[in-house]
Structures are given as structure tokens and as C-alpha cells.
Symmetry: C2
Subunit: 513 residues, 2 copies
């Protein structure tokens, strides 16, 4: 058995049975081995950033890693931005990167580059398989390392892949997340029961249903406020769950949201900092006189910590849960607000929303909070271009569920070829492009950083017009049926039809400008 | 004056007056400063790989660096593949990467990553500006470092950009490339005059016109054969220049091309190695009993070395030059061969050909060798997705010349949004997509690496069908007028019209399958 076959069999044996791939010459034996290991589903992407973003979306929904298959250093570079998002979301991901044959590595061939150094910047685990006999164990270790919530990069020289002498290895059992000690629980209990203004701040695994319900009992009992990190990897939402507002993105709004807070208890994440530094603005919205109490750090068992805390302070308390409610279907001009209302009115039960709407999504949280239960995937690392790929991965992880991608126009273009994968795999993904013809977020940011001279030449760098992007044509060119909506009624009509029909769709929602 | 303004003024003062940009929040002051420094032309791209590839193409044609402007580590990751190509082509490039404000850097905000480590893998020079007062000198040093033939990465924290106290700096004079010593010239002269089978192997700057003419005199006088590296950054070609065949890409053909050679004299490049390692194939096409003589290493003055060598061995010898000749316009099915003949028949005087045709380009070299003078840009580093961006950069560098992009379908998708920049800047670029519906090169490579099991599942990873890519629709979605050609006559007709009309065009050349 060669290295590639042992790798595939080991991955499948450890539960990694989907691979998002953009292979090259050095990965040809991996590709050939797909015919020997039919349990592995390989999904072709036309760009590596689609492969890594899809692996990110897949794992967020499946709860176990997918593999990405990338070609040498430049291919890994193309995948880096969404590997960054995966790292920030603590997504488990097995990142297989092919490299030159061992004897070829030292020849400085044109595609030679320092894969190991780059991989080290986003991976929690990096290993280079040195012999075919090592591949099985290396792959098993990679899956275990990814399972702890991170990117495990396995670098596979071509000749290690093509040479015989390899064997699959058994899965390596994962280690359970450490449970925070009693002193952390006690400190949080004391803080939340102090009577001073307090916030229970959730992130990571603590925002899943179990964590939300425990947290809502705790805040019901203590009077603390409940908040969620700005960009959680996967947030269950909707009627029957607690109201769990996200900390706002704009620094002035985040500062307002935490103003007066004396105790911030964090579970599953860290204390918030602003996305960017701004002139004259502190780096974090946490007030100077607020004490931060770490109930559970990222990687610790946040749900167990919340359970212990609830036992301590919330005996008998009931969580307050959201009633079912939907906005009216709006009419008239298509704006971020009416777009959000259409989504809130029509969001199907059990949908997966992939949110890269950026500025066009301002009303979404409010107008969907009482919708039927759904999952919400956010841009964890701020590297735009994760939305369309994540939608592909989420759809493959959850074939019975509708995926709704809410996608800003500018950021759609980073990984637009993901639409081809939507079409080839006939994924149940409806993409709504929020087409405002600009990098609108940067127009806000230009003002926010106090940049003067917002003249014509600067403005041209934030404007996506001249020519306008026609997403109906782009989608059609990649096999995704698409329509254009220019009013709220048109969007509602087109979204209802797209959601009713299996397979991929795109709606170019041209916002009123 | 703030750091951003000083940076722009210093760059412009040093002759860097084009910037290919995909900015984010941390680059907003750079954007704002564009209105203060109108001498800097900023070109918006919708993806960072377009910015870096355009900067690569620009510098190859302009002979001086452009700047790229990228957003933090993930944006730099998106630009990495074409920075890799630029590195391999020794392209001068000033790579400006914005980073978090200094006070924000330590807060581990979502977009935080190790920019410096990644930049170090492709840059010959990396510096982080620590204070506004440093920016001018740092930028001047960056331009000088790039000028030596490499990527200078200047990392600019947002607050260094927005804070006052900066001043532009004067250009730092570049150092001339070192001239090889007389012993290298003597060894090359002895080898080429030995009467044994010898090859003069050119690359880098030595393949420009002056080097070609000197080399052709040397081979005329000594009887040595003349060869060129497989993927030169910029190769002047056509009638009136010597016949300078490229070393073939396929290892078996490269081995045949050098079989029996006893002396390989290299100028401007290194001795060739195969692109990849293959089972049972040596890593280099240079025969075991062939002696390699380095006349001029990359970065040395190859033309001066050839001049000294010509003085030594080719006194009075005349170079043999190619006569003008064009193939007949072909008729019938569209194949790589007839596509190449159409290009050979119609290539305009002084055209710039950007060649990322890969397997569809097999007849091109032969069928264009007697065409009117033109420049040929190749994929120096093997990282596909440089073609459409390079075409943009070349067109901006040479506004009076026609740019013809010959673009494989699969690799077009990596940076397809470059077409939008073609349209926005109304660049004189005609792109011919060689649409064979597959990663054809990988079908060859799968066989070449001896991968067995070339079954249905493996085949699906090399096939771009299901759905077919419609490049007419894709181009139209980004504002580039496009047509489809399915016969040689249609291609000839459409190419003639596209080349006659200013502005961007795309022809989806659907090859007979």
C-alpha cells in the first residue's frame, strides 16, 4: 500500500470522510487513491480558498473535521485566508499539503517554497511525513490534533505518497477538553451575585444550545446581562432559545454595550477587543474599572463550566426564551432593512445561515431572532471570502437542511468560483448577494479612522461600480440559476421560490443606493 | 505629514508611481493620501492575487517596480501565489502590507496573524515601520531592495500610517549588478570552444534582446547550441531576433533536449531542474557527465558577461536571425495547433503575449517564432492564476501596446476577477481562454507520475465539466465584451476584431475535445 492510500484509509477510519481538494502534480497519487477508498468523498474546488472555506463550514456543522488537499506552498497561500478564519473559529481541520518528492526538495525547483514556515502561522500542529511507513500514524495524529479545535497541517512529499510500505493507523483517541477548576466557578458566582452591573459573555462552544440555556438560567437568577461574541463560529438561534445579542462590531456601539459593566464573566472565549485600532479609541470595549473573570478559556469545557456555575447560583431558575415571531413581508425599496425583513419572514425551519453580509446585514439579528430554529455561521477571523465556500461545506455536512448565504458583493468576489462547486455538487444553497456596488464597510471605516481627503481618487478605491458586477451573469457562467431582485417584493418572491426548489440558486439583490 | 503621505511621496519620488491595491481598514489612510499625491496611480483589484500578479506583469514590462497594497496577513496570503511567481522571476516589487496599529497588535484581534513570518518566505527584504519618522527612509530602502530584483515587503502599522511626523525620503541609489570575474568568462570560453557538444543556456535578464544577440554571435562562432530557460520572465521574440528555443517542460523532452551535452554554460539563471520529481526519473535533465559552467548567476550582470565572452570567442561573428514568417490562417476544428496558428497569423507588431495556456499552448512557440517582434511573459514560478493579472499590469505599463492573454480555463478561475480590472481601467487586453473543460495538464501528470487507478472518482477531480464554465457569461458579468469561438475561422475572425478595437475583450475558445 502506498502512502496516499494509507493516508486516505487512516482519515476515513478516524471519521474524516470528506476532502475538499484543489490538487496538482504532487497530489496525483492522492487523487488516484480515491478510487481505492470509496468511503472518502472528494469535492473539487476551482481555487484553494474555496477548499479551505468549505472545510471550515463543513466542520462547524458536522462537528468533526474535513480534510483540505492543497498543492505546495502557493496553493496553501491561496487557502490561507480561510485557514485564518478556521483558526479564529477553532475549527477542526486536517490540512493536507502536497510537497515535492524528497529528492527533489533540495533542487529549488520553480514551485519550491517554505511550506513549513507558512503553515506554522495558522496551524496548531504541523508535521512532514518523512517515510511511507510514517504516514498512517502521522495522519491519525493529525486528526487527533485537529479534534482539539485547530488546524493540523500534514505535509506529504510526493514520493512518500507514491511509495509502498505504508499502512493505515488506528484513530488516536482525543482528549476531553479540560474542565475549569472550582475557583473559576466561585469567582464567577461571586461576581455575578455581587449586585453590581455584570455581563456573562459567551463564545466558542459555550454558545451552542446547552450553553445558551445554562447561561440564560444563570442570568435569570443573578440579573446579569447575557451577551455573545461578535462573530461566533456557529450560533443556534430562533424561537425557543434565549435572547443572546451579539456584541456589536462598531467600536462606539461595543463600548456603549459594555458601558458601566463592573464584572465581565467570559466562557468559551476571551474578553472582547475591537476588530481594529482607531485614533483616540481604546483597544477594547471593556471599561477600565471592569473586572474580567475567566470562567472557561477557549479550549476549556465551557458547557461544564456553565453547568457548575448554574448549580452554584441558578438552582430552580428558568431561562427566558424567545417566542416565535416573524416580521411582516416588506414592500417597496430594497434596503438592508427590507432585505433583512424578507429573510426574517421566510427563513425556513432548521436553516443554516452563512452570514457574510457585512454592512448590508444590519437588521438581520433583530428581524430573525424569533424565526424558526436555525444555525448562524459568522466570519470568525474577519478575512472576507469565507461565505460562499462555507455554504458549500455546510450543505455537504447537512444534506437535509437549507443553506442560506447572505453575501456582500465585494467579498463575494474573493472566492466567486465556489458557485461552480455549488452547481457541480447540486448543493441546497441559496445565495443572496447584497449588491450595493461598493466596499460600503470601508466607506464607514475611512470616516471612522479619521482619514481626511475623502476625495475622488480615494473614493474610487471603495467603489465597485464602473463596471457594475452582474452576479446573475457570473452565477450563470458557473451553472447556478440566478435572478435579480430590485424591490422587496421581488426578493421575497424569488427567495421563496429558490428555497422551495432543491439545488443551488443565487439572487442578485440590488440594494437601493 | 502623516506616514501614509510620506510613503506615497517617497515611492513616487523613487519612480514607483503605480499601486495595485485591495485595501482594508488598516490601509484607509493610504487610500486617503491618494488625493494628496496625484502622481500615484492606484488601480483597484477585487482580490489580492490580482494586485500582486498585476504588479508582477507591470514590472516585467516597465522595468521598474510597482507597489502592491494588501490588507493584513490574510490579504497577503491571498496575494502569496503571485508573489511566489514574482520571486521566481526576480521581479522588482514593493509590497506594502498594512497591519494593526501598534497598540492594537498585542491584543490578538481577530485579524491578527504573523505577517512577518509569512513575508519572509517570499521577500528578499522585510521591514516593519516602527515610527512615522521612519516611513520615508523605510520606503526608499524598500524601492532600492526591490530594484535589485526581488520583493521588498514593507509592513505599515495603521497608526504609523495615520500619525504625523513623517517626511518623504530621497531615493536610495541602486547598486549595479555585479559583473562576473574573468575566470568565469575564461571557463565558459574554454568549454564552448572545446569541440564537445555544448549548450549556452540563457535566463533572467540575459534573454533580453542584447543578451540574445550576443549569445547568438557566441553560438555562431563556437557551434554551441542556444537554449533558454523554460519559463523566462520576459522573452523578446519574433523576426529579427535569434532562434532561441525554450527547454521543454515535460521531463522526457527536457532530457532529450540536453542528451549528449558535455558542457552547459548558464547565464542569468541556474542549471535547469525538472518542475517536479517523478518516480524513476532523475531530478534534472542535465546529463551526469555534463559539466555546468556558471557564466553569470541570477542577479549578476548576464549581459556584461556575454559581452566579455563574445569579445573572447566571437570576434566578427554575426548572429543568425529569424526571417519574418507567419503560418497560414487555419480552418476547421479548434485544436491547440490551430489555435496557435491563428495566434501566429494575427499577432500584432509589438504585442505583449501573456502565456498561461499550459497544455493548450503546445504549438505556440513554433508558430509565432517568425511573427513581428513581441514580448512573451511566462509563468515563472508555476503558481497558476498569474495570467489575467499579469496582463492587466503589462497593459498599464505599456499603454500603446496590445496585450494578448493566452489563458488555460482551469487556471483562469484562480484570479478571474482580474477581468473586472481589465474593464474598469479599459485596458487593451484581449484574453483568449483555451477552454478544454479539464485540468488537462493534470491528466498528463497523473499518467507521468505512474498513478494507477485512474478511475471515475480520480477523473472527476481533473474534469472541469458538469457544469461547463461559460467564460462569455463570466466576462460579461465583469464588464468585458466577450464572444465564443468553436472553429478556427471563428477564432481568427473574433481575434482580428478584438485586436482592432481598443479596450478589453475575451474570446472563449472552445477546443475540440
Amino acid at each position: 500500500m502506498n502512502g496516499a492510500q494509507a493516508l486516505l484509509r487512516t482519515l476515513v477510519g478516524a471519521g474524516v470522510d470528506v476532502c475538499f481538494a484543489n490538487p496538482g502534480t504532487s497530489e496525483m497519487h492522492f487523487v488516484a487513491a480515491l478510487d481505492d477508498v470509496p468511503e472518502m468523498r472528494a469535492v473539487l474546488t476551482l481555487f484553494e480558498g474555496v477548499a479551505t472555506g468549505a472545510a471550515d463550514g463543513y466542520a462547524r456543522m458536522a462537528g468533526r473535521p474535513a480534510a483540505s488537499l492543497l498543492h505546495l506552498g502557493p496553493g496553501m497561500g491561496n487557502g490561507l485566508a480561510n485557514l485564518h478564519n478556521a483558526r479564529r473559529g477553532r475549527t477542526p481541520l486536517v490540512n493536507v499539503v502536497g510537497d515535492h518528492a524528497r529528492s527533489h526538495k533540495r533542487l529549488d525547483a520553480p514551485l519550491e517554497s517554505d511550506i513549513d514556515a507558512v503553515a506554522g502561522t495558522f496551524s496548531t500542529w504541523v508535521r512532514r511525513s518523512l517515510r511511507p511507513a510514517d504516514v498512517g500514524a502521522d495522519a491519525a495524529d493529525a486528526v487527533a490534533a485537529a479534534g482539539a479545535g485547530g488546524i493540523a497541517t500534514l505535509i506529504l512529499p510526493a514520493d512518500v505518497s507514491w511509495s509502498d510500505g505504508a499502512e493505515p493507523a488506528d484513530p488516536v483517541p482525543g482528549r476531553p477538553a479540560p474542565r475549569p477548576g472550582p475557583e473559576a466557578v466561585e469567582a464567577a458566582a461571586t461576581a455575578l451575585s455581587s449586585g453590581e452591573p455584570s455581563v456573562l459573555f459567551l463564545g466558542g462552544d459555550a454558545v451552542r444550545e446547552a450553553g445558551q440555556l445554562l447561561a440564560a438560567r444563570i442570568t435569570a437568577a443573578t440579573g446579569a446581562r447575557l451577551l455573545c461574541e461578535t462573530f461566533p463560529a456557529r450560533l443556534p438561534r430562533g424561537a425557543g432559545l434565549p435572547d443572546l445579542p451579539k456584541l456589536p462590531y462598531p467600536p462606539e456601539m461595543a463600548i456603549a454595550a459594555l458601558a458601566g459593566t463592573k464584572h465581565l464573566v467570559v466562557a468559551g472565549t476571551t474578553a472582547p477587543v475591537h476588530f481594529f485600532g482607531y485614533p483616540g479609541v481604546p483597544g477594547t470595549p471593556v471599561p477600565d474599572d471592569c473586572t474580567v473573570h475567566v470562567l472557561a478559556a477557549p479550549g476549556e469545557d465551557g458547557v461544564a463550566a456553565l453547568e457548575a456555575l448554574a448549580d452554584r447560583v441558578a438552582d430552580g431558575a428558568e431561562p427566558q426564551l424567545l417566542e416565535a415571531s416573524r416580521p411582516e413581508l416588506p414592500t417597496g425599496a430594497l434596503t438592508p432593512r427590507t432585505l433583512s425583513a424578507v429573510v426574517g419572514a421566510l427563513l425556513p425551519e432548521d436553516a443554516i445561515v452563512v452570514d457574510e453580509a457585512l454592512t448590508s446585514g444590519v437588521g438581520l439579528a433583530e428581524l430573525t431572532s424569533g424565526a424558526p430554529r436555525h444555525d448562524w455561521l459568522s466570519l470568525t477571523g474577519g478575512a472576507i471570502g469565507d461565505g460562499l465556500p462555507m455554504a458549500a461545506g455546510a450543505a455537504i455536512a447537512c444534506p437535509g437542511r437549507k443553506v442560506l448565504g447572505l453575501q456582500a458583493d465585494g467579498s463575494a468576489m474573493y472566492t466567486i468560483s465556489a458557485l461552480w462547486t455549488h452547481a457541480r455538487e447540486q448543493l441546497d444553497v441559496t445565495t443572496v448577494v447584497c449588491n450595493n456596488g461598493s466596499y460600503a464597510i470601508l466607506e464607514h471605516e475611512l470616516a471612522r479612522v479619521g482619514a481626511t481627503g475623502n476625495g475622488k481618487r480615494a473614493g474610487q478605491l471603495l467603489d465597485l461600480g464602473g463596471p457594475d458586477l452582474d452576479f446573475v451573469a457570473l452565477a450563470g457562467g458557473m451553472g447556478v440559476p440566478a435572478t435579480r431582485a430590485e424591490t422587496a417584493e421581488q426578493l421575497a418572491d424569488q427567495l421563496r421560490r429558490a428555497l422551495a426548489e432543491p439545488g443551488p440558486h443565487l439572487i442578485d439583490a440590488v440594494l437601493d443606493r
